[in-house]
């Protein structure tokens, strides 16, 4: 077994365990921390798959956002009345997702895939060129998406308490 393969199995294993932790941890904090772990491990998978740029993005983006997420999670769930984090029907969910997994497993293993050729590293230049030629439209649209998300998050989260610039209700 190659080293990279071994590395993959290890990383994948950690990722999965961390992910399981995310969905089953009994504390929000642990869940968030495990999510970070899982995402970072995902970054490592990218690295193993020769997608170094993506790995960078993964760690940067998720490192940043998830810490915010963590803050939120901590802030929004008062620790003294920490309730049960799972529903009663979680078992049903487990069955359904297990079934889905079986489906995916069977289908993945059923097909014969072409023998993987040598994995090629994709340069950042190629990536940039692709992004601004073929994928120019999605790229531009994605910018609008981000704009909408940003403004939307602002608009939604902005306080509506008295003193904001517009009165809640226009006088009739």
């Amino acid at each position: 077994m190659e080293l990279s393969a071994l590395a993959f199995y290890v990383v994948a294993g950690v990722t999965l365990v961390a992910a399981l932790g995310v969905v089953s941890a009994r504390s929000v904090v642990y869940a968030a921390l495990l999510l970070i772990l899982s995402l970072v491990m995902t970054g490592l998978v990218y690295l193993l798959l020769l997608a170094d740029y993506l790995a960078l993005i993964q760690i940067l983006v998720y490192g940043g956002t998830v810490s915010i997420l963590l803050l939120f999670a901590l802030m929004l769930t008062p620790p003294e009345t920490r309730p049960e984090l799972n529903h009663r029907g979680w078992a049903l969910g487990a069955v359904a997702s297990g079934a889905l997994f079986v489906l995916l497993l069977v289908s993945s293993l059923a097909d014969k895939w072409p023998v993987a050729g040598a994995a090629r590293h994709i340069s950042l230049v190629d990536l940039g060129r692709a992004l601004f030629s073929t994928w120019a439209v999605p790229f531009e649209v994605a910018s609008v998406v981000l704009l909408v998300a940003l403004l939307g998050a602002l608009t939604i989260a902005r306080s509506t308490t008295p003193g904001s610039k517009i009165a809640p209700r226009a006088s009739a």
Binding site: Y46, Y53, T77, W113, A119, R120, I122, G152, I156
Partner: protein
């Protein structure tokens, strides 16, 4: 590198864990986290296919970049809404959110 099937099994598992998270978690923030897991599985899939099955294909990577970007944005927006909900009703448990049903 490992056979593509193994990666697919891995991403499948990750994805299903995410699905399970969505179905099992009460806390809306945790639900959003689970969705992140699902999207991660997608991104890994894309990269793996691009690299291992279609070597030199740049599309998988590009797609993965977009997925990561959008996922982050989605999370941000989601959290904003969660915050708004929390402000209004002091809870972010999805089974408390049942004003509308049936």
């Amino acid at each position: 590198m490992v056979p593509i099937e193994h990666i697919m099994v891995f991403t499948g598992a990750l994805f299903c864990i995410g699905v399970y998270g969505v179905m099992a978690r009460r806390n809306a923030v945790l639900v959003l986290m689970a969705i992140e897991l699902m999207l991660n599985a997608v991104a890994i899939n894309l990269v793996a296919f691009g690299t291992l099955v279609y070597p030199g294909q740049i599309n998988g990577m590009v797609f993965a970049i977009f997925v990561v970007t959008i996922a982050a944005a989605e999370l941000g927006l989601g959290l904003a809404i969660v915050l708004r909900v929390y402000r209004m009703r002091s809870s972010i448990n999805v089974d408390d959110i049942d004003l509308m049903r049936w």
